[in-house]
Amino acid sequence: MNWRRLIAPRALFWWGLLAVTWGLSSTSFQLYKAFDARWIIRFPKAWELPLETWISDAMRWLLEDATFGLFTFRELTRFISAIIEVPYDVARAALADGFVQGQGSNAVEIAPSLSWIAVIVIMVVLGRVARDWGLALLVGVCFLYLAIFGQWGSAMVTLASVVIAVPIGVAGGLALGILSFRMPWVERALRPVLDLMQTVPVFAYLVPILFLFGFGPVAALVATVIYAMPPMVRVSTVALQTVPPEVVEAGQMAGCTKRQMMWKVLVPSAAPTLMVGVNQVIMLTLNMVIIASMIGAGGLGFDVLSALRRLDIGGGIEAGLAIVVMAIALDRVSQAFSTRLPAEVKGRDLSYVQRHPWFATVFAVVVLTYIAGLFVPTVQDYPDAATLTTSAFWEDAMRYVNVTFFDTFEAIKDVFLTYLLLPVKRFFTGIPWAWGIIAAGLAAARVGGWKLGVMAALMTAFIAANGLWNKAMITVYLCGVSVLIAYAIGVPLGIWAGQNARAHRWVGAFIDTLQTLPSFVYLIPVVMLFRVGDFSAMIAVVLYALAPAVRYAAHGMRAIEPEMIEAGLVSGCTRRQLLWRVKLPLAAPSLLLGLNQTIMLALSMLVITALVGTRDLGQEVYIALTKANTGQGIVAGLSVAFIAIIADRIVSAMARHSKESLGLA
């Protein structure tokens, strides 16, 4: 690190900005008293935009009056939900509930659901087809875990919604991706929409979705798809754009029509990249499991929630780990599919069974277990008597830690609160809103040009004009401190993992678990150890936002060309110099990307930490949810999204600069 850069004239701008902001922040209260001008610290009520009411009114109109002549808007959305409900019911019947005819007490079971053995065999075969027996074994063990730990029923309900949400998300994402590939204006129009879809917290639009799509699993599916689709759109656009021109030319020479070109040439050759998008959709769908269960999706998410409401920490951990295990299985299989080589085509003279041995196996197992299940119940349902539980162990462990270490934790917490959290909080909440708008604009303009500056200033003004200034500043403070700590822990971990293959494996597994384990599972133990308050929220955010900091740092380290390191060694660098003078500067763009992602995850987690008890925008969104106030939720959600977008643009611009200065761009 070159410390002289900190006093270079370029840096003076930042020092100046910080000094003015700090000065105003620490004196804003006195200024307000001195001039008797309350508008300095509070945005005047009279100027506030009545946006909340407008949105709520618009929503009411959409629900009650909007019509296309032949049918109303609500009939349209209800029609869509009826369409989604059909395959969902089939999937759920096949995996969890069994097929029944008739309703309620008159119901007659036609056929049971797939037996647990059949589902495991299907998954194992998928693993084998995707790669090899090793993967098949992993997947089999994962699903066996679900049966042995008594999570089977709920897991299958969750799997049913994954099986429906993922194809919808993938198909929708691919369709939008193709549109943006064909028409550049669609891409330009979609980009801000996708940004919003990824940054507006899900809680903010749950209420309108419930109103439009009805109560129950379908609404949860719709919310899941909205949340999980954006990466698929982005990935498919990029995948199609990067198909080598030679391939396209070959297609043209063969005389492809436009449609043939798309489906026979472009999509197949982009398939490996497209599978990366599919993988993302699967992971995000599983991320949504908890939130979806809050609006009626049931399954593992509901088990986690209800266990933790009973303070059954062990039960919560077990159900949470079931989600992790399922995520790992689905993630590995879909990744394997993305790198799989096309299978050779078998001769046509073979019989159907010989040509499709795996499908035939699955079919045979399904039929056999169905018949056997009629006589032997354990074939159909995993026997309850053979399930294990570790609930008591977790319970005791938690009690031990709580009783033994609470005072130590309390002392550590006090240090953090006094020397870090509270000063930062005072700094941010003290900034007068008017200066905040200017400062955000100046900072953004300095990094990314005047256009970005204007955008940042407008977005900040939007937040202030909706009376959310104070909550937004608490959001920035909590998010800032958490990102700082996550980054300080994550980057060294990543650097270590990037230089050491063994460490890479362990750190990778740890990070995967942290990211797929529903945050609820550790939220409640954190509250037990650190009480309700900002510190608990911070720990939860750090745990969740750690992953990208580690991943990108490790990636940056591994992507350095060996020649560069050799050059460093040849010029006589010590290990320390090699790290600080060669590796870190070269990894800087990657580190900045990691910072960007850490900020995004921290912001998305803040909405969840509202459940612990914070006073930020996350809380505003959550309050809106519990009061079913559409307008309030969307305005607060947009404010979160704007903070995220400003941060994203600034950090991206910094990454671009650092790439340019390294000559990598």
Partner: protein, 317 residues
């Protein structure tokens, strides 16, 4: 591939399908399922499950739908949802009044239970703060309840801000040396209680009943000056002549509500709903059976149905 498996399963099911005949079980007005809402606390789910069993016994088809406590009113107004068994006077009154005012939702009377919400402390605190449960003792031991963040004030853990409750106003009006900290959800609220209880550490928090916590943990509610409506409306009433809210929180019934169309579509079911009640004691026992003794909700509901068969038959006819 997952598609294939789902489709082949569906095909299988069709192949094995038996021509279905479903004779009506009993003479009821409509075989359409009645949708009852369940929320995210055990007591309400047990309550709704029992009502569902009763309706089934009377021959109706019943579906339990998970829905948010407040958001459900949107569904009740349109007839997407039909019956909600627990709207608490203390937390749901506003939303309920708004919904019944539209005429699409009907209040079906009291559910038999009384909601209590108040400041609560575990029994072991009586040694450290001998004046309890009298509220006047609170100030003498504010230091006992203090944490490093609130010192020298005591720390009172309130419910989520959406629950209302006027605790800041109460602290102000009664001159209590306490700071109100809001938990975000009741899961966080009870997590702190569990933690403090394990360590026998001081804690003062908002607890509501009927709830499993009052059964699992030994403790009592703080006794504030009794609540009257004037106390909340009229500053001059009560200990502090200049401030309202210088008294306990109100208690109130838990209401049953239904979509207005229930009355026409399933008049018999509406009648049963009006009759159906559970007492605080019954609910306490049911919740303990589920949350502390780890029985399944279905088993607990069925046991209750067996024990109360005569009462249930009386409601049905």
């Amino acid at each position: 591939m997952k598609f294939t498996s789902a489709i082949s399963a569906a095909a299988l099911a069709a192949a094995f399908a038996v021509p279905a005949f479903s004779p009506a079980f009993a003479e009821v007005e409509s075989q359409d399922p009645i949708r009852l809402t369940t929320h995210d606390w055990t007591g309400q789910i047990v309550n709704t499950t029992i009502l569902g069993e009763i309706l089934k016994k009377a021959g109706y088809n019943v579906e339990l739908v998970q829905a948010d406590y407040i958001a459900q009113f949107a569904g009740l107004k349109t007839g997407d949802l039909h019956i909600a068994t627990e709207i608490w006077e203390t937390t749901g009154r506003e939303a309920m009044d708004e919904a019944t005012a539209t005429g699409d939702v009907v209040n079906m009377g009291e559910g038999g239970m009384q909601a209590i919400e108040e400041w609560w402390y575990p029994t072991y605190m009586e040694e450290r703060c001998p004046g309890l449960p009298n509220w006047e003792a609170l100030n003498d031991c504010a230091a006992e309840f203090a944490t490093s963040e609130t010192a020298p004030m005591g720390r009172y853990l309130g419910g989520p801000v959406t629950w209302g409750g006027f605790d800041e106003e109460r602290v102000e009006a009664l001159g209590l040396d306490f700071e109100v900290v809001h938990a975000g959800t009741d899961a966080a609220l009870f997590a702190e209680l569990e933690s403090a209880y394990q360590r026998q550490a001081p804690i003062l928090l908002w607890i509501y009943s009927p709830h499993w916590s009052t059964v699992k943990y030994d403790g009592s509610f703080v006794e504030f000056p009794p609540h009257t409506p004037e106390c909340y409306d009229d500053p001059s009433w009560g200990v502090n002549p200049d401030a309202a809210y210088d008294c306990a929180k109100p208690t109130g019934p838990i209401w049953k509500v239904a979509w207005a169309g229930v009355e026409e579509k399933w008049p018999g079911a509406a009648e049963i709903l009006r009759n159906y009640t559970l007492t605080n004691d019954e609910m306490g026992a049911l919740v303990v059976a589920v949350d502390i003794e780890d029985q399944s909700i279905e088993d607990v509901a069925n046991t209750w149905m067996e024990q109360n068969a005569a009462k249930v038959d009386g409601w049905i006819n």
